[in-house]
Symmetry: C3
Subunit: 142 residues, 3 copies
């Protein structure tokens, strides 16, 4: 286990841009506001979605595309540093017109219809991602 | 993008009333505590559920009803103002006895079995909903 | 409805241990940090999962096991007191290699592949679980 004490800092609430890329918008917001540690959550709807599933055996992300209109029943994620820049790691839960739920690791290619966000910055020790041997993932390093 | 600075205000934690309507209970709570800006989250179980899917083409909500006992694996939402009153916009993720997940926009008709809630109020510029031409939805206006 | 005023206290952000039990790790963390009131959230991936569905008729949990690698698209929960010790009540939403979503009440037997957590402690009146006649569940008592 690797755990840091953090304290709440700036907080934002609002909505993202219709037709824009969901992950890119959140990342741009963190860059603009200089947020390198934080959490993000939101609900909304997308015009299409693209999510990742990490194959723990092959150690590669597989991507799943949904070329349909979906509700975002939950986006949740954290903000830290990767390659010296703010990095958003978010997972997303989606639902379709039958109410069935889908989801995974939020990937580029998920296009906003409407999206309401709450973003909270933290102060605390830097959390920076680097290659983790146990998993093959870019995880926070001591 | 439209984004406001907010600051945390009052916070509440507790459980909602067995047999009551989930969306109505949260709305009543916001009215009683005079919360017009905030976030809500919770987990629990419901006796039946009703969720909305926004049809982006026809610009109408379609409603899906589940006449069965379900876990609420996540409720998440925000509080703002609509028609001069506190308005709760929440999405819900549900699961059944096989573990399959469902969900959508929380609608009236979702009846609580047991529900544990955390509600946080914010201070900041008023967020008020009005008709949005791009989507047909009642979104926050500048 | 039963609702307490709470105020934010200590907050932690980090990652949990590869190969360990997800519910046990979070519980251990609360015991170690002496957190008896709080909220927890996180995203990650698990090597296998075990979730509960509460049968409202028979008043017993049924457990569902997933012997496969899954994304955790959301863990959300609260911390309170049960049997005089910190008790974590969490629900989990999972997704598989097709993007299909599953979930329920987080049970022992869910093994971490990688998991990123945010844990927030609160100050406020003690919330302690005891048998609730309406539901058969261990709910917070007045």
């Amino acid at each position: 286990m690797m755990l840091n004490n953090i304290t709440p800092s700036k907080m934002f609430m609002g909505r993202l841009t219709h037709n824009s890329d969901l992950l890119q918008e959140i990342t741009d917001l963190c860059v603009k506001e200089n947020i390198t540690l934080g959490r993000v959550e939101g609900i909304g709807a997308v015009q299409k979605a693209r999510v990742g599933y990490y194959n723990q055996g092959s150690r590669e992300y597989q991507f799943i595309e949904y070329d349909q209109h979906l509700e975002v029943i939950k986006l949740t994620g954290n903000v830290s540093i990767k390659d010296n820049a703010p990095f958003v790691h978010a997972h997303i839960t989606l639902s379709d017109d039958k109410g069935n739920a889908f989801g995974g690791h939020l990937a580029p290619g998920t296009i906003i219809f409407a999206f309401e966000i709450i973003l909270q910055a933290f102060e605390g020790p830097e959390l920076s991602r680097g290659y983790d041997e146990d998993t093959g993932l870019p995880l926070w390093k001591e």
